[in-house]
Symmetry: C2
Subunit: 308 residues, 2 copies
């Protein structure tokens, strides 16, 4: 399938893997890129040396394009931005902020910059700053989310900017990809479904929670601190929601509660006090399989719905 | 276009007009039905006599099928249910609850019952109770909303029940309808866009607010009382959100604050202390026009995207 997205990145299928913090590593990224999608490495929490090692490891595993996601609010953003430029990775996606300050060094390195946006104003701003495409991410996504849903956000972004729009949030199968193509997207970012990829290095208990998740098993919390996050419902998330409704709990205490929660889930397999980030699409994820098979299934689904 | 929805209702286009409380009257319903969609009258707040008069007025204006929406939490639900049965309206849609107790009288009257559902469990339950179809309504809709977005809810409902699924929430143009058809829906319920129909009797200032609305101009409040509502941001909604976060404000006070707010917006044109219910799709609504033209535009858009 050829879209503005496949042409921009020089890839076979209009699917980019979400750059999930602590999750998206060289092994997963290479598997996705080798299967014809665009694999992503998350720079979140990595030292400069570790990020460089991940990029090099990915180049050992694939000769296809891949990218690096930089969470702009993270303490490592500045160093990660420089390393991405030095390493001339094919693509940088950015989240949680405006990448304006890094655009010149990335432009000079020939990198395609694709910011995640949650509203029209942000899309227009990054288009002016020289973005190559935008990822329009809806409320149903896992991790940090805005308020607009994918169904209403994507057509508005497509109307607002003259760039390829990649839809994110809620897309786990061919139906979802076909739907966002109808909305004017040139492809989709898929996160939650790749949690169940064989090449995804999260603990089995995390994968099991995703596979078990039903429709109403995710929730959003963290709004009081301005960092609204979607994850599977568990003790951690329910306590966070209660605490932020309690005026006697300070923002500092909330921050303390949240500290290290994603790490505990991803690296320690703590399904009780860890933050099991996943989107509403978790309910559509039924089994683990290789990343290549995930992509093949999604594309089969799309082609069955859109014969032309 | 023929879908399971057009066949079920015997209509030309797979579009049902939302049964918006205080808004959806005989005039709007007849305009939609005459244009080949399925028009709906809201029973909310009407006396038995008034509802009967609305049904009769609609029959004067159209010989096509139309329906009545019954909000099950309303004090008039019981009487409205009986009148719908006596009048043998073609379709009843229900919202905010389970219609189980009314199914026998509606079945005896040959009425097609189409409940609004917000999750899989509810869809399965109403299917067992004998529903003819379900309306899967997402978080982006106006008025009372659940947590699942249209993009993730529709395919799950389509997988869960062997009934036509009508998608609701976020659909205002051909792109939205095409998207939900890809997700497995047999058609769409459109509410917010019909607020801007010439035949919609709301005050011009309400229509102007919808036309002016940008992407981030709706918000959700009311969760503490278990009645989460989406409406345009204004003083009323912002105060409601603040009050429900304040533990010193009782639920009784919250109820007092909410009382009559929708009426004030719809009937008195009060855009400050009224509740201007509208969905995220408001940002996609740019101009007023006859209901027939709204439907024609949506169908043109769909046909351009789905040539087959």
């Amino acid at each position: 399938m050829t879209t503005k997205m496949t042409t921009l990145f020089g890839i076979q299928h209009p699917i980019i893997q979400g750059g999930m913090a602590w999750v998206a590593d060289a092994q997963l990224a290479a598997a996705v890129s080798n299967a014809g999608g665009l694999g992503m490495i998350s720079a979140y929490g990595l030292s400069g040396q570790e990020l460089r090692a991940q990029i090099h490891a990915c180049r050992e595993l694939t000769d296809k394009p891949f990218g690096v996601n930089i969470m702009l609010m993270s303490p490592q953003a500045q160093e990660a931005a420089q390393i991405a430029a030095q390493e001339k990775v094919a693509v940088v996606t950015t989240s949680a902020g405006l990448p304006t300050r890094f655009m010149p060094i990335w432009r000079d390195a020939g990198i395609k910059v694709v910011p995640v946006v949650a509203n029209v104003a942000m899309a227009k701003r990054v288009a002016r700053d020289g973005a190559s495409a935008v990822i329009a991410e809806g409320y149903e996504a896992g991790g940090h989310v805005g308020e607009l849903t994918t169904l209403t956000l994507v057509p508005q972004i497509a109307d607002a900017v003259d760039l390829p729009v990649i839809a994110a949030g809620g897309i786990a199968d061919g139906r979802g990809l076909a739907a966002v193509l109808m909305l004017g997207a040139a492809g989709a970012q898929v996160g939650t479904r790749f949690l169940a990829a064989d090449e995804c290095g999260i603990p089995q208990c995390f994968k099991d929670e995703v596979l078990r998740a039903r429709d109403t098993d995710t929730m959003v919390a963290g709004k009081r601190r301005g960092i609204q996050v979607r994850a599977l419902k568990n003790s951690y998330m329910q306590e966070l929601a209660e605490q932020e409704m309690n005026p006697h709990v300070s923002n500092a205490e909330l921050e303390q509660h949240g500290s290290g929660a994603l790490w505990r889930a991803v690296k320690e397999g703590d399904m009780v006090t860890g933050c099991i980030m996943a989107g509403q699409a978790a309910a559509l994820v039924k089994e683990t399989m290789p990343a290549a098979q995930i992509i093949a299934q999604i594309m089969q689904g799309v082609k069955a719905l859109m014969p032309a």
